[in-house]
């Protein structure tokens, strides 16, 4: 696998290889020295055109745990601010001969364009409202770690599906792993075409949520009110907030963060034992390590013009 541009285009075997690898990295994470030498001497560029706390920090840390050299560039204050085009920025960064470019961009398809413009492997860390594949993989990882398998699992994705790249990637990833997905939210924010295109179910009400094994809530952004997607936050909360009344004791709760406490989730469910939100963040690190490993060291893709691949076949679990 050269790039990770989306869950679309990823097959189950490839996804499972990444998830298995993440498991072995989790074992490394429990040691005192959490670093492996796998990507020593290789450079990873994080190119972030949107602000991000958890995705950027976890990609940074993932690269460092793999002993790569990391440069993180945020759009604010960089040449991007001075009107440099994405193409020129990528050309500039490619001059450092990075092994991977991890890009977050406010527009769909940006990662794919970057992949056309560079020899480096490209990881899509979120492109517009299109995809966020590392988030979806870490969510699958979290569920797998908890339940063993997603086969036959019923997962409800609740909230602003229309504007959510997490929803798109998760929907595809959950289905890829054998789960049955239902999209739930106000009709203005759950496009029926998405269900038609992917074969998942749609519900405009939470009435049937008792059937769900997992409830995946999405962030509800305040600006959607002004755009007439929902009449008021009050009505949204009344209809769609996941609270302890709606969340059954056997159901698991997930959220990609950051949470609007008291909007899409009530405070008590966030802190309940059913909530996997903290596990999701933990999974982020090992899954992103596994993604970088898969793209940069997973297959023997050392190129003669790039110097040798990591000297010995990387042995996970062996501290540096």
């Amino acid at each position: 696998m050269k790039h990770l541009l989306g869950i679309e285009g990823l097959d189950r075997v490839g996804a499972e290889r990444i998830l298995d690898r993440a498991e072995s990295f989790a074992e490394v994470g429990r040691r005192d020295i959490k670093k492996v030498p796998t990507l020593r001497g290789r450079t990873i560029v994080n190119l972030f055109y949107e602000s991000s706390t958890r995705t950027l920090s976890s990609f940074e840390l993932a690269a460092k745990r793999l002993s790569a050299d990391v440069v993180s560039i945020k759009a604010a204050g960089s040449a991007v601010d001075k009107g440099e085009s994405l193409k020129d920025t990528v050309a500039t960064l490619s001059a450092y001969d990075p092994a991977a470019i991890v890009i977050r961009h406010p527009h769909a398809g940006a990662a794919r364009l970057v992949a056309d413009w560079t020899d480096a492997s490209v990881v899509n860390a979120g492109d517009g409202k299109h995809e966020h594949p590392s988030q979806a993989l870490l969510d699958v990882y979290t569920l797998r770690a908890r339940l063993g398998s997603l086969e036959g699992l019923r997962i409800w994705i609740v909230g602003d599906v229309l504007h959510s790249r997490v929803a798109r990637s998760c929907l595809l990833a959950f289905a890829l792993m054998g789960a049955e997905v239902t999209l739930c939210g106000p009709p203005t924010l759950v496009p029926p075409e998405l269900a038609e295109a992917t074969g998942c179910a749609i519900s405009y009400e939470l009435d049937g949520i008792a059937e769900a094994d997992v409830v995946y809530a999405l962030r509800m952004q305040r600006e959607r009110m002004g755009e007439s997607f929902v009449p008021s936050l009050r009505e949204y909360v009344a209809r769609y907030q996941i609270d302890s009344r709606r969340l059954g004791p056997r159901q698991l709760l997930m959220h990609p963060g950051p949470v609007n406490r008291g909007v899409e989730l009530s405070p008590e469910v966030i802190d309940s034992p059913q909530s996997l939100i903290t596990s999701q963040v933990e999974s982020g690190l090992v899954v992103r390590m596994a993604i970088l490993y898969e793209l940069l060291a997973g297959s023997e893709r050392a190129r003669p013009d790039r110097g040798p691949a990591p000297a010995d076949p990387p042995r996970i679990g062996q501290p540096a």
Binding site: E8, S85, L86, K87, H105, H107, A108, G109, A110, R112, L113, D127, G128, K129, H130, E131, H163, S164, R165, R168, P191, E193, L194, E196, A197, T198
Partner: protein, 447 residues
């Protein structure tokens, strides 16, 4: 052709094209003939192999080739004045000639827009120096295309505007459009309409449907176009005005036009090769060369456009040739400029995708590709003795790859780039002069 068209002076052609299949649905010809052009006029239309050869005439042995009346495009963007980095009159009309066109109507959404007699006069003057084929210019409906005040339509007509259009933008305000339709009684000139409701289109960048839902791109619903067409046709009927609806993209739009025509509205309309051949499925690639407005829509919409073209609800083919510079397209889809080039590929695309599979007959495509000037008072060219020579010589079997030899246009934003097409224009005669020879063909002649 029409006195309102401008082009540079060119030597009148003396030609004998021998044995080509001549197809002119208006003259009811479809058989091999010899076409003799003398002094830029069609002098003779003889049985194949029987034409006299005037002295010093160029003789083209054209057995197996096709000769049609040259095409007329009611909708191109030549980008002059102000956006010459995308296209200019010379490159744009050269691209048109390469596509077999003998006349084009240029839109007015330039920088500044063509909204005054002085700007119109200056582009027409430039066309007399640079345009390879006769070029008509529309003026805008509203000053500065702001959609608020009317332009001096009567003076603009006197200065040579072939019609009016705010194309690129709709005339969103119904009151402003109604005034323009009323004022047409004085000024004349068809009002050509880009139909779109800006509130419904919003920030949309592609057709609203399954593909936009999957890509997370804001969609432009088909209703944005269809509701505006219905509104504007109602206004035109009320005022007894004449309108031309540009670039239909959706089934509901075809139905709205059919209903308006049934009701007696003086309305004509056009569809583009890309809307007739491609759908929003293409946009899955997120290639910005597939971004245009109106957007590529669903298969059902495409089929409705083909039916509309067949039954005459859609009067003509337009390319909406909209060149953009590389840097305006080499960006993420949402940021890219709207518009695609089309002049050089129009015939070959329709021939390859609609004629060869048997969807539409060749005569119909020729008829619809030559009818585009009529709403603007530019008569469709005909192949008959005494008429000015406006001819396209086409090799219907030649296979070529779009863009492989570059483009005549200054811009490369073709939505058909890299496609294999069958049928290529070899030579175009416009207003009696040879306006284009395809390179390999020109070299063959020189041998």
């Amino acid at each position: 052709m029409s006195p309102n068209l401008a082009s540079r002076a060119a030597a009148a052609a003396d030609l004998v094209i021998r044995g080509a299949r001549v197809v002119d649905p208006r003259a009811e010809i479809d058989e091999p003939r010899d076409v003799v052009v003398r002094g830029g006029e069609i002098a003779e239309l003889a049985a194949a192999g029987e034409a006299s050869e005037p002295e010093r005439a160029e003789v083209v042995e054209a057995e197996g080739m096709l000769v049609t009346p040259a095409f007329v495009d009611p909708h191109v963007h030549l980008r002059v004045p102000g956006q010459e980095h995308k296209e200019d009159l010379e490159t744009g009309t050269r691209a048109a000639a390469a596509g077999g066109y003998c006349a084009v109507v240029a839109m007015a959404n330039t920088s500044p827009p063509i909204d005054s007699a002085s700007v119109l006069g200056s582009v027409r003057e430039l066309a007399e120096q640079e345009a390879a084929i006769p070029t008509g210019f529309v003026a805008t409906v509203s000053r500065g295309m702001a959609g608020e005040e009317l332009t001096e339509m009567a003076e603009l007509r006197d200065a040579g505007a072939v019609g009016f259009s705010d194309d690129g933008l709709p005339v969103a305000n119904a009151r402003v459009l109604r005034r323009a339709l009323q004022y047409q009684r004085l000024a004349g000139g068809v009002i050509a309409l880009h139909e779109e409701d800006p509130d419904l289109s919003g920030e949309g960048v592609m057709h609203e449907g399954e593909v936009s839902a999957l890509l997370g791109l804001a969609g432009i619903p088909a209703s944005s176009e269809a509701t505006t067409i219905a509104r504007d046709c109602a206004l035109a009927l009320d005022e007894g005005a004449r309108v031309h609806v540009q670039h239909l993209s959706a089934r509901a739009s075809v139905e709205a036009i059919a209903a308006a025509k049934d009701a007696g509205t003086q309305v004509t309309c056009e569809a583009t090769p890309h809307h007739l051949v491609l759908t929003d499925e293409e946009v899955r690639s997120l290639d910005a060369r597939l971004k245009m407005n109106p957007p590529l829509r669903a298969e059902d919409d495409r089929l409705a456009l083909i039916d509309g073209l067949r039954d005459g609800t859609i009067d003509c083919v337009a390319t909406d040739h909209a060149p953009h510079a590389l840097e305006e397209k080499e960006v993420p889809f949402e940021q890219a400029a709207m518009g695609v080039t089309g002049l050089e590929t129009a015939f070959a695309v329709l021939h390859t995708e609609l004629v060869l599979p048997g969807t539409l007959p060749l005569e119909l495509i020729v008829e619809r590709m030559t009818a585009g000037g009529e709403p603007f008072g530019i008569p469709a060219p005909r192949i008959e003795p005494g008429a000015a020579a406006n001819l396209a010589l086409i090799d219907p079997d030649q296979e070529w790859t779009v863009g492989a030899d570059g483009y005549e246009s200054r811009s490369e934003n073709s939505c058909f780039a890299s496609r294999e097409l069958t049928g290529r224009v070899l030579m175009t005669v416009a207003a009696g002069a040879v306006a284009y020879r395809q390179r390999s063909f020109a070299m063959g002649v020189a041998e």
